[in-house]
């Protein structure tokens, strides 16, 4: 989503005057100014999907909420990133994530490194009001180095995007729809027998939860390295 004309604009975020280029999103400008807006699906260097809905913010003068990751800044915008209403919405959205699959932080490889767990703490989610769904989901450990545990997947599609946009293998995609959706490799074959997977491991590094992890990691041992992403994204931009 590049824009040809780049202008300098000024706007307000949480009452602070900030300057930005018109081809930047609200989320980018907020981060540049050390204003934290929660998000789970967006990650620097990958395309924007706007699916986690945690980065919704209020724009004064309009009634609709907009996702900060997918909305470009405009001159004179007056943005509110934290309010009682937003905080209630964000907590409920997190509850929906937790209720959807089987997230057991205590026994998860990503315990203390997990973005979902981190957001729950940051947003003060003390418990989940909606009923847990307890779906039966598979764990695929057929790959020689990695494992996917669908019980912990939040369908942010970071793995799908990094595989397609950076590694250009497009081994991952989403199958099915609605609450039945699952990330899959190739024709829903075991990951280990995928003909297209290059075993580069980028998907594992971008996963926000414990869904994708390296074999041999025990509880709380799975931390991620993502420094490669902005650099590779830039290289890709230059070459295209």
């Amino acid at each position: 989503m590049s824009r040809l004309s780049q202008q300098v604009v000024t706007l307000k975020i949480d009452g602070r005057d900030v300057g930005a280029r018109s081809n930047e999103t609200i989320l980018e400008v907020a981060h540049e100014n050390d204003i934290n807006i929660p998000s789970l699906c967006s990650v620097e260097g990958l395309s924007v999907v706007g699916s986690c809905r945690l980065c919704l913010v209020e724009v004064r003068g309009t009634s609709e909420l907009v996702s900060a990751c997918s909305t470009y800044v405009r001159e004179g915008m007056d943005i509110v990133t934290h309010s009682e209403r937003l905080s209630h919405y964000r907590q409920t959205i997190l509850s929906l994530f937790f209720s959807e699959r089987n997230h057991l932080c205590a026994v998860c490889v990503s315990n203390n490194h997990c973005e979902l767990q981190g957001q729950a703490q940051a947003l003060g989610l003390s418990h989940v009001e909606v009923a847990y769904r307890y779906p039966q989901l598979p764990v695929d450990a057929s790959h020689e180095r990695f494992v996917i545990d669908h019980n912990r997947c939040i369908l942010c599609t970071r793995c799908v995007r990094v595989c397609d946009e950076i590694e250009r293998a497009h081994t991952w995609d989403v199958a099915g729809r609605g609450v039945q959706a699952l990330v899959i490799t190739d024709l829903n074959e075991p990951w280990g027998s995928s003909e297209t997977c290059t075993s580069c491991g980028k998907c594992v590094q971008v996963c926000p939860t414990g869904a994708l992890f390296e074999k041999g990691k025990a509880v709380a041992e799975m931390s991620r390295r993502r420094r490669f992403l902005p650099y590779l994204a830039k290289t890709k931009e230059k070459s295209s």
């Binding site: 767990q117 003390s126 418990h127």
Partner: protein
């Protein structure tokens, strides 16, 4: 156990509150009225179910302590299967000598393990597996002062 990790701070708390019912106290029936109850663990069987409803009836402020009480945590892993399948697996499939499902003495399993707040109203939640002593101390201090604690700086799911 985490509660005991409060160490010498236990004394501070003991100055303001008395412990009337606990696995550590030799009283078999729940008292008529208590100001504050900390409850651990998920609701798994009929005995838990009846117990927690009784506790709720006789408690002013009910606190879910730890992930099992709040999320179901590890005990809830059986929820992907039916209660019968779980019994079958535990008492038949994995047993070589006299496999049988116990009918007496063992409480009847609920179809699903449930977090405490799905069964009764819960007032305060202290997540963590286990919740750190600091979180428990902060929560108790605040509650004893009549305030509702915000624990996000002290603990989280899993922590």
């Amino acid at each position: 156990m985490s509660f005991l990790d409060l160490d010498e701070r236990l004394i501070q708390i003991a100055e303001k509150a008395s412990l009337v019912y606990s696995p550590l106290v030799d009283i078999k029936t729940f008292p008529d009225w208590v100001d504050l109850t900390l409850v651990e663990g998920a609701v798994s069987n009929m005995e838990d179910w009846e117990k927690i409803r009784n506790v709720r009836q006789h408690t002013h402020t009910l606190v879910s302590l730890g992930d099992c009480a709040i999320t179901g945590n590890v005990p809830s892993m059986r929820n992907q299967f039916s209660a019968n399948a779980v019994l079958e697996r535990s008492y038949h499939e994995n047993i070589e000598l006299y496999p049988q499902i116990p009918r007496d003495m063992v409480p009847h399993l609920l179809a699903r393990v449930r977090p405490v707040h799905e069964v009764v109203k819960v007032d305060v939640f202290i997540p963590g597996c286990p919740p750190p002593a600091d979180a428990i101390f902060f929560a108790l201090s605040e509650l004893l002062e009549g305030r509702t604690p915000d624990l996000s700086a002290y603990t989280r799911f899993g922590s």
